[in-house]
């Protein structure tokens, strides 16, 4: 087994990435870019900007296609149903797009002129975009900021956490589906959260069970061959916030851009969502930030 480059100056050193022994080390670029050195001034700027945002929640999963965006959208809808949740527009900066009076959205999707435009960006450009979203969007006074993320654990996740590091993230909600192929990626994600000291609010098991609209009998399309999220949460001592069954109406509502919670208020999936949202609100209420009071609270 080979060692790290002899004479490695260490990632935090001023010589990081610049020393003679750094040549050929695959992390040279990372170190030379100053990742281990002085913090980006944007972090303080974002901390200031985020003072008007009471709660920040990241929605994560190691796995793709488990329902992060679906969940993020419906969490936002669910929270916005409380008329007391207010958003005010103040001053300059990018404006979020308001889909309801008290629900604003910012997405790279809005910046693309065609539905066929592909975002073929390397890491540094993606990081720059995320920095802009966090620093330059004028959210105004907001109760909740939900951050939807792509699958995996890479640039976007590291950036989001890094740029929000001074601004207090309440926690992360992790989405999974029941099968091991999903859980094995999700465990990596939970590991990531621990490493960056991001509190885990809990895990949501999505696409849990399918209830046939015709005969009402249950089927497991994505079988929990290793015990599903329940066993994983027990093993890792993390709360299981709830299980959402597969309801074909969810996909339809998303396709139409509507809130499934309003479209199908009596669905077992809606009931599951509401219970999960309540638990998230309770978590945010019981774990206020330790620093100075937020403006507007």
């Amino acid at each position: 087994m080979e060692e790290v480059p002899q004479g490695c100056p260490g990632t935090g050193s001023a010589q990081a990435g610049r020393g003679a022994s750094c040549q050929g080390c695959p992390n040279q670029r990372l170190c030379a870019s100053g990742a281990g050195a002085a913090p980006d001034p944007a972090i303080e700027e974002i901390k200031e900007k985020m003072k008007t945002v009471k709660h920040k929640i990241l929605v994560l999963s190691g796995k793709g296609g488990v329902g992060k965006s679906t969940f993020s959208a419906h969490l936002a809808h669910g929270l916005a149903e409380d008329e007391n949740t207010q958003v005010h527009q103040s001053g300059s900066g990018w404006s979020p797009v308001f889909v309801e009076d008290n629900l604003g959205v910012m997405s790279v999707g809005f910046l693309l002129s065609s539905p066929d435009d592909a975002v073929i960006w390397r890491g540094p450009k993606k990081n720059g975009m995320i920095k802009q979203f966090l620093r330059d969007v004028d959210w105004g006074e907001v109760d909740y900021l939900i951050v939807d993320t792509p699958p995996g654990t890479s640039d976007e996740h590291l950036s989001a956490v890094q740029y929000l590091s001074a601004a207090h993230i309440d926690g992360a909600v992790i989405i999974t589906t029941p099968q091991e192929v999903s859980l094995q990626d999700v465990r990596k994600e939970i590991n990531f959260c621990h490493k960056v000291k991001l509190p885990v609010i809990g895990v949501v098991e999505n696409m849990s069970v399918f209830i046939c609209p015709q005969c009402k009998k249950e089927s497991q399309i994505f079988p929990p061959t290793t015990g599903g999220a329940e066993v994983m949460c027990q093993d890792l001592k993390i709360p299981l916030l709830g299980k959402v069954p597969l309801d074909p109406h969810i996909g339809k509502s998303c396709d139409k851009g509507q809130s499934f919670l309003t479209d199908a208020p009596d669905s077992p999936a809606t009931l599951a969502y509401r219970s999960i949202i309540k638990r998230i609100q309770e978590f945010c209420g019981h774990h206020p930030p330790k620093e100075e009071h937020l403006i507007g609270s």
Partner: protein, 300 residues
């Protein structure tokens, strides 16, 4: 930029290379990659699978190959055979991740003085964390070496499974494979608008990088209730065909939701051999047939 002719190297003995792509996560790229490989094998072909999903390598589990040791030879990494007959070989980043708490995470073979990721600095003992940090900085470089450092030998088909999206990894993979004239890309979507919306962008990526699209596969296309036989469109309907039509590429077929298929993948079973009567089988076989018919005779 390299000349158009491929230099002799580890991919020189591979007749046809197919990439499996999607703009969207969780639509079944790894599933389709695995089943396509199995079906091609059953059609008598020698197949390799390259799993370049750095953050979520799923293929080892799907072929019951988790935790297998990887060896090196003079030309690079030796791919792992997943079957007794040695007709399917696999290389996945997942194999290189299987190291427990060690200061050095994993290393690649030396080739012309260059090295795959060598490890992190003392103190970062966790393999998974090390890879996450490396993903951010070096995904492109990692993939480039990973693609060219595997000693495949003679193969009829190499199926390349990718992570979702259009990023460093995809660009690096296409660039590394370009000298070997890939057959093209299989693009996977699910039926709903949200998926089609993402996968359209993937098709643009293919256009921009000069990657031919072999066709669109629509996965998770309906579920037949085992109790009453009613078919429900769990994830909407029609997206795959619509996407193929919009992009002017062939539509290769719809694969229904099939718990037997999901279970097979969980347990690393050969679905094509063991479940010929299962709902997903006809669609998967048909897709493999279409891929076989597209491959032109290649001069070696």
């Amino acid at each position: 930029m390299e000349a158009a002719a491929a230099e002799p190297g580890n991919l020189a003995g591979v007749r046809h290379i197919i990439l499996v792509l999607s703009g969207k996560g969780g639509v079944g790229k790894s599933t389709i990659s695995t089943e396509l490989a199995l079906a091609l094998r059953h059609a008598g072909k020698k197949v390799g699978i390259l799993d370049v999903d750095l953050c979520g390598p799923s293929i080892p589990r799907m072929l019951r190959a988790q935790g297998r040791a990887v060896h090196q030879c003079d030309s690079g990494w030796v791919p792992v055979f997943v079957d007794q007959e040695q007709s399917i070989s696999l290389m996945s980043v997942g194999f290189l991740l299987e190291s427990p708490d060690e200061a050095v995470v994993w290393r690649g073979p030396k080739k012309n003085g260059s090295r795959l990721v060598q490890g992190l600095h003392a103190g970062r003992a966790d393999a998974a964390w090390a890879l996450q940090v490396t993903c951010a900085a070096e995904a492109g470089a990692l993939i480039k070496q990973f693609v060219s450092d595997v000693a495949w030998g003679q193969l009829d088909y190499l199926v390349v499974d990718t992570p979702p999206g259009t990023s460093d990894e995809h660009m690096a993979t296409v660039e590394a494979l370009r000298p070997y004239s890939p057959l093209g890309a299989l693009v996977v979507t699910t039926p709903q608008v949200v998926s089609v919306g993402d996968v359209r962008r993937e098709l643009t990526f293919c256009r921009k990088t000069g990657l031919q699209v072999v066709g669109v596969v629509e996965n998770m296309s309906g579920f037949v209730c085992p109790h009453c036989a009613e078919c429900t469109n769990v994830f909407s309907r029609g997206g795959g065909e619509e996407l193929a039509r919009l992009a002017g590429v062939p539509f290769l077929g719809s694969v229904p939701l099939d718990p037997e298929l999901t279970r097979s993948l969980e347990e690393g079973r050969d679905f094509i051999r063991d479940f010929p009567n299962s709902p997903a089988f006809p669609a998967l076989s048909s897709i493999a047939q279409k891929v076989l018919s597209q491959a032109p005779a290649r001069l070696s």
